[in-house]
Symmetry: C2
Subunit: 179 residues, 2 copies
DNA sequence: AGGAGATAGTCAAAGCTTTGATCAAAGGAG
DNA sequence: CTCCTTTGATCAAAGCTTTGACTATCTCCT
């Protein structure tokens, strides 16, 4: 993938993928280098993307990445039971509970008891929360566009399709998940 | 993307992507739905993948996901300065420092002073660390293969190419990063 | 109706993350 | 050679994460 395979001293976060694939296959034999490269690249790209979005968009506006995710879910689908927020945002129920403590103190989210089930807690955005996520998501999407514009429209469509296929495939179906 | 667009009550982690894209564009107007779908899908897929690998492969063998990443880097490119481990594994130096405390207690990693620079700390695997990562990575790669086999060889190649392009593109170059 | 079992939310402990401060050591300029 | 700046590692505080335990509540079966 690179012109000149780098030695251990000139590696960086990106070129480490090539290095790792080469070195591992020569060392272990029974590995599938394409599967390795796929997962490594996917993980590194996503890390870089999330780091960029969090530090360039959300932190400057006072939100953490997890805080953004909860607000985003409540914005689009709220009010929701705490359980549903956990499902839709991909966190554990305990994580949502802890996070909502912070968001509640910040005046962005409200907790109230559900009517039909006294165990359940209904979460909703406050007006401040609604304003925050509306503006924040605006900036978020602009940054998303900057990333997405690296690819042509066809490439974007292809990529989304492949990611979707991977997400709905057999391995994903067997995968350990939170729910 | 789905046959029948789900209402807020029947959503799950995956179908939320469709719902979010539809709802946001109708609510905000100025968003790019494809960029949104791309980032949302990428993030959710990667989360699911990492969760699966961590809980099915690494935790049962006594490693955390971050611990695995550090061991993996040291296995292939070690011994390395602490700084380099941070770069190659994509963590902050402080995170590596804290994590190595744990790995050192577990007898998997050794710290020693570098010769040429008395500020620097050289990290290397112990023999137990080497054995651990060798076996652990074996299982890791088998699980990677299960995921990757959802796609045909051509699809895998295409996907890797597109991810790589995104990773090296203009937005990635401007992106806020740790280094 | 009564009791067993499942479910919602929270708490606690432990670990990992971040940023910013601190300290020691190295490098460069005068 | 000395001062100033930069750099490597660690620490501290705050936040988020996980699993597992616990309480309250609901549901279902007899």
């Amino acid at each position: 993938m690179t012109a000149h395979p780098a030695g251990p001293d000139e590696l960086d976060f990106l070129s480490f993928v090539d290095f790792a694939v080469t070195k591992t296959t020569s060392e272990l034999g029974a590995v599938d280098p394409e599967a390795m490269r796929l997962v490594l690249t996917l993980h590194r790209l996503t890390s870089a993307l999330v780091y960029d979005l969090e530090s360039a968009v959300h932190r400057p506006r006072g939100l953490s990445w997890p805080g953004f995710r909860v607000l985003f879910v409540l914005w689009l689908a709220g009010p929701l039971e705490s359980k549903r927020v956990a499902q839709l945002s991909g966190m554990s129920r305990a994580a949502v509970s802890a996070l909502v403590n912070t968001l509640e103190k910040a005046g962005l989210v409200e907790r109230r008891q559900a009517e039909h089930d006294r165990r359940a807690v209904l979460l909703s955005l406050t007006e401040a929360g609604h304003d925050t996520i509306t503006q924040d998501y605006q900036a978020h999407n602009e940054r998303e566009q900057a990333w997405a514009n690296t690819l042509s429209p066809d490439e974007r469509t292809t990529l989304i399709g492949l990611l979707h296929k991977l997400m709905t495939g057999a391995a994903a179906a067997d995968a350990k998940r939170r729910f």
